[in-house]
Symmetry: C2
């Protein structure tokens, strides 16, 4: 894989869009999240509004469940949503349109008839229903909701920190992916309450701030690039993961699972 990346061209990479980049600041470090506006546009817009209003500033991380998710939100549910909407339509899947980019993996998948990548995000697709959705891979960010399908609004977000819980696919809105600083979430002490919720408020991990990169002076932004998923370079990278040919591997798998394909991020040159 290192060889493929070393041979990549500048055009194999894309910069993060500041309008779709969140900086989540913890005392331990910075977590950078890329929002995908294509699959849950109303959720992404609401999250942008909440970030701009400072809604998340000072909110706690309230849940850390081993091999599952870390989640933050308002434990009292009393914080004012401001101009953000309290309920949103269930953007769990979206109608597939021919203009949507899709780099399909030939590899079989049990959770979706077809899987691949769209604009750098892992997706499932169903040619029968003509729907597509973001897949719950490690590091993906979703929108917590109650039992009602329109009860999510982005005030409560979770990040996958374990084996891909793909059974959540199509049941909840997925809005993006952690592209840097995943370790500040994945190493949080696990909550000892049911579902990994922290049992005492003193165990909460405070979020110092969540800012939209567009609202941060350009000179202070974290300049990152993400590998494009619609290029021959990416196809070559996937193949190095499907069939590893170095001295260590004795039996190439001949297969790569969607969530085992790394969507590489690097500092912008």
């Amino acid at each position: 894989m290192a060889d493929v990346l070393a041979a990549s061209k500048p055009s194999d990479w894309r910069p993060l869009d500041p309008e779709n980049t969140l900086y989540l600041q913890l005392a331990s470090g910075l977590v950078v999240i890329e929002l995908d506006p294509a699959f849950a546009p109303e959720h992404a817009a609401n999250i942008r509004t909440l970030a701009r209003e400072g809604y998340y500033n000072g909110l706690p991380i309230i849940r850390s469940q081993d091999n599952y998710v870390v989640q933050w939100g308002d434990p009292d549910g009393k914080r004012d949503l401001g101009k953000a909407r309290p309920r949103l339509p269930p953007e769990f899947t979206i109608p597939w349109t021919p203009t949507m980019p899709f780099t399909r993996l030939p590899d079989v998948d049990g959770y979706a008839p077809e899987v691949g990548f769209s604009n750098g995000f892992p997706v499932g697709r169903d040619p029968k229903t003509k729907q597509a959705w973001l897949a719950h891979c490690y590091g993906m960010v979703g929108v917590g909701r109650g039992n009602e399908i329109d009860s999510g609004n982005g005030a409560e977000l979770y990040v996958v920190i374990g084996n891909a819980p793909r059974h959540l696919d199509r049941n909840i809105a997925v809005v993006g992916r952690v592209v840097q600083g995943m370790e500040w979430l994945s190493t949080l002490p696990r909550g000892t309450g049911p579902h990994g919720f922290y049992e005492k408020p003193e165990q909460y991990v405070p979020i110092q701030s969540v800012r939209l990169a567009a609202d941060v002076p350009a000179a202070e932004r974290v300049r990152l690039e993400v590998i494009r998923t619609d290029t021959p370079t990416f196809a070559a990278l996937v193949e190095t993961r499907r069939n590893r040919r170095d001295d260590w591997y004795k039996v190439p798998a001949g297969y790569v699972e969607l969530c085992n394909v790394p969507i590489v991020v690097r500092p912008a040159p």
Copy 2:
């Protein structure tokens, strides 16, 4: 799933065998590992010898790679292996015999022609080669090795802390699974060196001791039971994971990936 477990009978559970149970003690907490003697018997025997000799006591955790593995071993490679063997045959797969228990999942898998459970461990099986192997699911324990296939001996062990790296299957000896205390490994600070190795010895996390449960007085053992994987109760449990029918889920997946099946552990009644 809670209903299935609540309705389970005592015979749906099996106790841990003290001869195949390791207690790995960290300052933060106790990690309990169940060795599987069936798939890599010589590796399991060597690890038992190393534990009995006190080989692992005081050894450091030297690696914590996000979404991959935590690993411990002798950073200098100078510790005396005692009666343990320095090299072992590559027990990466074993010949399948008709007497081996196998509860097959009907669900498709990209990494193996057939998958299922054998004595409570997730396994892959190939009817063509008549070989079987333990699968690299979250919490599984493997034996580090160098490029030579017989260079592993159990002195260096790793635990999966991320999305199942199933491409390692058939390339390395897997010997067991963490059955309690996984959070003490999964939350370790990530190493900042290549492959998540800690860059400075002061970052190492010391292992206080590794003991075989059989060498611990019976009254001091951690009494745990693991769900049997060859019962109707387990089949019912798998089905609750394949098709979730509670009020929250709107679209049952109709599928369960091998590593998303929980092999439940509980305190012995």
